[in-house]
């Protein structure tokens, strides 16, 4: 499954970049993230409980590795998640383009593979769920950006 999109933040590129590296920020931005720890340079471990609407299911343990960091422009990441419902593996790229001094456009692209039971029963809604989670995450990130700028 491919997730593609872009999002515009009303913030300087450096601010957005900084927030994207901060586990305390990401834990608020990742849908359902309960915990996110930096376990090494550019490596994070976390627990997520993904909810779609009022339905919440099992906990996923996730591991995220950031790679090819070109501050404040771009990075790639590799993500793995596991839960009793199955696993997910994916790679993604994030590119930040400074539209002007106070506006940053983010392009994101992800290739995500799902495995196990979740792949076997979720197909009817997967496309929509991915879109929803991406939107939720970005909106939450935007709130963090706005909060940071308000400080």
């Amino acid at each position: 499954m491919t997730i593609d999109g872009e999002y515009t933040f009303r913030a300087p590129r450096e601010t957005v970049w900084e927030l994207l590296q901060d586990p305390d920020v990401l834990v608020k931005a990742l849908p359902g993230a309960k915990k996110l720890e930096r376990i090494g340079e550019d490596r994070f471990d976390g627990i997520m409980r993904v909810g779609v609407g009022p339905v919440t299911a099992a906990e996923w343990s996730v591991n995220v590795q950031l790679k090819d960091l070109v501050p404040p422009e771009s990075y790639a990441m590799q993500m793995e998640g596991k839960s009793p419902l199955g696993f997910t593996r994916g790679t993604g790229t994030v590119t930040l383009v400074a539209e002007d001094e106070a506006t940053t456009r983010m392009h994101y692209h992800g290739d995500v593979q799902l495995g196990g039971k979740i792949a076997g029963v979720g197909q009817r809604l997967l496309d929509q769920v991915a879109k929803l989670l991406a939107r939720q995450g970005l909106e939450a990130l935007n709130r963090e950006v706005e909060a940071r700028l308000a400080r």
């Binding site: 696993f87 799902l114 495995g115 196990g116 039971k117 076997g120 029963v121 197909q123």
Partner: protein, 779 residues
């Protein structure tokens, strides 16, 4: 014989129990102290297992035990090869059979890795979430063509290839035929995977009784006796110490004959290990991952014909996706290879297939067992040839049927039973004419034109098939007159809804002239009858039915002999009717069969030297060769080209399964088979992604046709008796589903002539038909 039961639509003996909920199924087995099992299954299609941590699961309250491959010790070993490869010259076969629990590597999603034994299935499933498996994912092999690419990941590294088998068969000189042909049609055909989806999933329950030193196993298997024999061997017990019961089973369709499923190996072992009864019932989600599947072939086929539509030859190269293991040998692709020839005279045939391993669930026979693939290819080739020649599809079939003088007919290739593909008998042309007449073929074009003027698109499809049925090795039966006067029949088959309790009763009742409901049939209990093979390949009625007939004949002789002695008359004077023996002309000299049976087991004195007690006989039937059933299916569809939705308006089956035992049961078999065939054609398809994940593992997304989607089949029987068995029987279990896809494709094309569609694939979903129509529109 006064009364005739064979050939009558007698109501089924088993239905009262089934309809009132009194029939025992494996999941009904409840024993004191019973524990419940859930399996941890691989989420990955292809991965190395670096470690399995079960400690948290073991610590969960209510969990009795957790086992991985390491815990099985010597009991861990690859399962048996069910069917060895047939004796075809130059054949290659790489044997890889499944293991009870994956140890170092998993080969498909759903392969079991660990099992939890707990006080309830709920707790067992909770504990599955506690088990941690460290996987190292490997590249997955999904597409059968890609499996043979030089850079493909290899499943079974000992072979250095994903090739499971390579078989070439044929007769005549195809190249010569091609050179002489007026028309050669060559196409690629796809037939994708489906699941059997029996109403009842698999289930195994086991109890070890240490005092009796006896293992009892309740199993949904189609083959209880081979399961008993195998378990005894694996567990180091005598066959007499293992008692396997296959009670009522809610549908088999082939996958329940796979031996041995890991669960079948493990549940009895756990029961012995823990000294407590244990049960596992597969749930529907597991069934999609853990029960074998079928289909998945790619054919590159070619037909050479003359200007007047006569077949000169057929050449076919095909790939058969055998999934992760090839425990069932080559039955499915050999069936495809042989059944392609159909009811036709094919002077030259070259057929070559490669079976390949893929990271998908293992393939074993599912109703039709590869036959539908061959039929689809041949029937489509004929349709394409007819179209190219401007010939009616029915006419090209007419011109190529084997004539009645051809039988017995030898195709000079080897069939799944290791014998030459041999047609015992057949009478094809009248079946076609009956089908055409029933569906109104002659007036259909007019109707089609009228509908078209009203903006509606209807089409007709008519196809033929043959089915090799009733193969050996053998089955047996024991017939006993009970002192109550009722008749007991025991056979080694398992029964999954085929009506054995009635069909066998009819055969025996006719020989002994008793009421059908007075005949009590037992199947699937190894204590009742310990020799036999199983229910598969449309063979139950033919092979076990013939054994029942032979045993009943032997009992009849004993009855007449004994009655002669007791009633002091010569045997020829004894008449057997209505459950009594009488001296002809002296009706007062009469005994009921029950009285006679009691006399046959004297409490004082002795039977005459050399005679056996009881009115009982056992007989076996082992046919040299199977019997060849055949038929014609015709359907009318309506297609909405705007929405790509297809509705099947009418469905006609004219079939010939030799002499009918019970027409009602036969009609049920055919109707059910057609439902399955319609599923294969239009609704059902197991969809795997590039990493080997199954994407529709539930009835939300895997679409079985329901009663609302299947028309009532209009049926006509023809009875060309089989010469190879005493009752003239041929099998009918699979007939309904074999040619459905081919008929469907022809009918859909016929409904939309202006699109010039070529439907070369099955199943054909509306989404797929939409894109075919879009492509046709663009061109």
């Amino acid at each position: 014989m006064n009364r005739s039961y064979v050939g009558q639509s007698v109501p089924r003996n088993e239905d009262r129990r089934l309809l009132t909920g009194q029939a025992l199924f494996v999941d009904d087995v409840q024993l004191e102290g019973m524990l419940h099992v859930a399996f941890l299954r691989s989420d990955h299609a292809h991965a190395l297992i670096r470690g399995v941590d079960v400690s948290a699961a073991l610590a969960r309250p209510g969990v009795a035990a957790v086992y991985t491959a390491e815990d099985l010790g010597d009991y861990w070993r690859p399962g048996p090869l069910l069917v060895p490869p047939p004796p075809v010259e130059g054949l290659t076969f790489n044997e890889a059979t499944q293991v009870p629990l994956a140890k170092e590597k998993v080969f498909h999603v759903g392969e079991p890795i660990a099992l939890v034994v707990a006080e309830s299935r709920y707790v067992a499933e909770d504990a599955l979430a506690d088990i941690l498996v460290d996987f190292e994912p490997l590249g997955a092999v999904v597409d059968p063509e890609a499996a043979l690419a030089p850079d493909a990941p290899i499943l079974h590294t000992q072979f250095g290839t994903n090739l499971a088998a390579h078989v070439v068969q044929g007769h005549g000189d195809y190249e010569q035929a091609k050179a002489e042909a007026d028309l050669v049609i060559s196409r690629r055909f796809l037939y994708d995977r489906g699941a059997a989806c029996a109403l009842e999933n698999r289930a195994v329950a086991a109890r070890w009784d240490p005092k009796a030193e006896e293992l009892t196993v309740w199993d949904t298997t189609q083959a209880p006796i081979p399961i008993r024999n195998g378990l005894a061997r694996m567990l180091g017990l005598l066959e007499s110490q293992v008692h396997v019961v296959a009670p009522f089973v809610g549908g088999g369709f082939g996958p329940k004959i796979m031996m041995f499923y890991p669960e079948e190996v493990l549940i009895p072992w756990v029961a012995m290990k823990l000294g407590q009864p244990v049960k596992w019932t597969e749930d529907r989600q597991e069934n999609f991952y853990a029960t074998t599947q079928e289909r998945g072939q790619v054919h590159d086929a070619e037909i050479a014909v003359t200007q007047d539509g006569r077949i000169l030859g057929v050449r076919d190269f095909f790939l058969h996706d055998t999934g992760a293991y090839d425990s069932y040998g080559l039955t499915v692709p050999i069936n495809s290879q042989c059944t392609l020839l159909g009811p036709y005279s094919v002077p030259s045939y070259h057929s070559e297939f490669k079976a390949v391993f893929t990271n998908k669930i293992t393939v074993t026979p599912v109703r039709g067992a590869g036959r539908q693939h061959g039929v689809f290819v041949m029937e489509r080739l004929l349709d394409l040839a007819a179209r190219a020649l401007g010939m009616d599809p029915a006419e090209i079939r007419r011109r190529n049927y084997l004539g009645n003088e051809a039988f017995p007919y030898n195709h000079q290739i080897i069939f799944q039973d290791f014998s030459p593909l041999f047609y015992d008998s057949g009478d094809y042309l009248p079946a076609l004419e009956t089908a055409l007449e029933t569906i109104g073929y002659d007036s259909f074009r007019e109707e089609q034109r009228r509908m078209r003027e009203a903006g509606r698109h209807i089409g007709v499809g008519v196809v033929s098939y043959i089915e090799g049925t009733g193969i050996g090795p053998y089955e047996g039966a024991r017939v006993t007159i009970d002192p109550s006067g009722r008749v007991r029949v025991a056979t080694g088959l398992g029964t999954q809804g085929q009506g054995h309790y009635t069909a066998f009763a009819q055969v025996v009742a006719e020989v002994l002239d008793v009421d059908v409901e007075q005949v009590h049939v037992t199947t699937g209990d190894t204590r009742e009858f310990g020799w036999g093979t199983g229910t598969f390949a449309s063979r139950g009625a033919v092979v076990a039915g013939s054994a029942c007939h032979a045993a009943a004949q032997a009992v009849r002789e004993k009855i007449l002999a004994m009655a002669g002695r007791v009633l002091e008359a010569v045997e020829e004077q004894i008449e057997l009717s209505d459950g009594h023996v009488r001296v002809r002309g002296a009706p007062e000299r009469s005994l009921s069969l029950g009285e006679l049976a009691r006399m046959a087991n004297p409490l004082r004195g002795a039977v005459k030297p050399g005679t056996e007690p009881g009115l009982e006989a056992t007989a076996y039937f082992g046919p040299d060769r199977g019997s060849t059933a055949s038929g014609v299916h015709a359907m009318i569809v309506e297609v909405d080209p705007e929405t790509a939705m297809v509705e099947i308006k009418r469905y006609v089956v004219v079939h010939d399964c030799g002499r009918l035992i019970n027409p009602m049961i036969v009609e049920g078999q055919v109707q059910g088979g057609v439902a399955q065939g319609i599923g294969n054609a239009f609704y059902e398809k197991l969809i795997f992604d590039d990493s080997g994940q199954l994407l529709n593992a539930s009835f939300m997304d895997y679409l079985l046709p329901t009663a609302l989607d299947v028309p009532r089949v209009e049926m006509a029987h023809r009875e060309t008796p089989a010469p190879m068995n005493p009752l003239g029987l041929k099998g009918v279990g699979e007939a309904g589903c074999i040619p459905t896809g081919a008929a469907f494709a022809q009918a859909v094309e016929d409904a939309l002539p202006e699109y010039g569609l070529e439907i070369l694939e099955i199943p054909l979903s509306p989404n797929r038909l939409f894109s075919l129509l879009e492509d046709a529109h663009d061109h």
